[in-house]
Symmetry: C2
DNA sequence: CTTTCTCCCGGCACTCCGTGCCAGGTACTC
DNA sequence: GAGTACCTGGCACGGAGTGCCGGGAGAAAG
């Protein structure tokens, strides 16, 4: 019973490694911390670290693997939906939810990845896998039209960029503002640009909205900007 | 004079290292080739390899550093242009030009990066720097409107995605088709989506867009749907 | 021609990441 | 109580990347 005088017992060692790693990363820096330092603080063997994390960078993103699986399952579980763009936007919201569940942890990690080039590169590969999942889903939905592959890649990329823009904006504010609203606004911009008229779920009257637009050649973003100003957003 | 019996003399050793590296990568695989193997084949010291290339991955992308500098200079040299989206598309075309200058080399590199996860990750960081350069330029041009940062990120991401989609399509065909036409088509899609209207070059009046919305409580997607119907899209 | 200064190259030693292998320990089963 | 399967730690190894230093070639100065 005296085995765990300071180390945590219940969090099965994986969490202990993450905690020890972040403690050292924050007080000493990522590159100045070796794996031996982490396992020494956690009180475990060096070999066990690489059992739970394939590399030193993985300890910084402990939950992305599960989130990616969730997103893949979420996209796969969609029946023939008429609005794939909305679907991928909802998939991106899953990622935001993961970040929002632990604001302080997410902010700490953001500070780290912003300063360490190696972590930025690793984060890119993580984001790339999300983007690929979205693009693969869209590719399956765009088989009908022409340029399906191109549209899938561009829209997936835009969705990820909008999500990340809003996410980073929220992270820069130390997780104080409303993350969901920020991301909704950013994704709304993408949906507007790529024509995601979301299927009205039920009996809404088209008369709810009356829109008059002059100068049909005006760029779409100009229209969206005007809309948002009119609706009092931004 | 007998010092260089097989090694190239004029290509100052940097090119010799690239040639030796690719020869081994193609016949033995990237991960199965050590830096010692490369320098042994090139007939130089191991220390010299890391003088010319910061890491083993860098030898696979020997010209991207220069291309990134070219793109940055190209964007910086643009006077107050009324069409920033077109400008970043032209910037992306610089990258394509670099690939098209050495089709066989580009195809070989594509095969490598497609199979080796480590090289894919490194390529992502390279692409990310291009994307950041485009986004930074757009951010400077979008200071006027609202959501300038969001628009800059989304458009830069979409441009890069479209460019890469067309580029990879061309690389998959072993560099046979017309790369320029493919990329032009892909970038045209992005320009159309983000309102690069062929070019009203100068004096645009804010009155170009007039929007009237009733029922301010209506959901945004409803407004967007109505807009698109009015504009005759989708 | 000699000397000196400078720059580039090669070699050595070191740290750290990541992996394969094996021994010991614990818990669960029969 | 014996057997078994899994988890853990220790050891050793290969490869990447870095700091340091000695040496040689070439240019500049005498």
């Amino acid at each position: 019973m005296s085995a765990t005088e300071k180390a945590e017992a219940k969090p099965p060692m994986r969490d202990a490694l993450v905690a020890a790693a972040f403690q050292l990363f924050l007080e000493r820096g990522y590159e100045q911390t070796t794996v031996d330092d982490i396992v020494a603080l956690a009180g475990v063997g060096r070999r066990s670290f690489f059992r739970y994390f394939p590399s030193k960078e993985d300890v910084v993103f402990p939950d992305h693997e599960r989130c990616l699986a969730d997103m893949t399952a979420f996209l796969a579980a969609s029946e023939a939906d008429a609005e794939p763009v909305r679907r991928v936007c909802d998939g991106a919201r899953l990622v935001l939810r993961m970040y929002a569940e632990n604001p302080s942890f997410s902010v700490q990690r953001y500070r780290l990845t912003k300063k360490v080039p190696g972590l930025r590169a690793y984060e890119l590969s993580v984001v790339w896998r999300y983007e690929r999942a979205l693009a693969e889903y869209l590719r399956g939905r765009f088989t009908g039209g022409s340029d399906g592959s191109l549209r899938a890649d561009v829209i997936a990329s835009a969705v990820v960029a909008a999500h990340n823009n809003a996410l980073r904006s929220w992270l820069r504010s130390d997780g104080e503002g409303d993350a969901t609203a920020t991301v909704d606004h950013a994704l709304g911009y993408v949906q507007a640009a790529f024509g995601a008229a979301p299927a009205p779920p039920a009996d809404e009257h088209p008369e709810d909205v009356v829109v008059v637009v002059s100068r049909r050649g005006a760029p779409l973003w100009r229209v969206v900007q005007e809309i948002e100003t009119t609706l009092g957003r931004s």
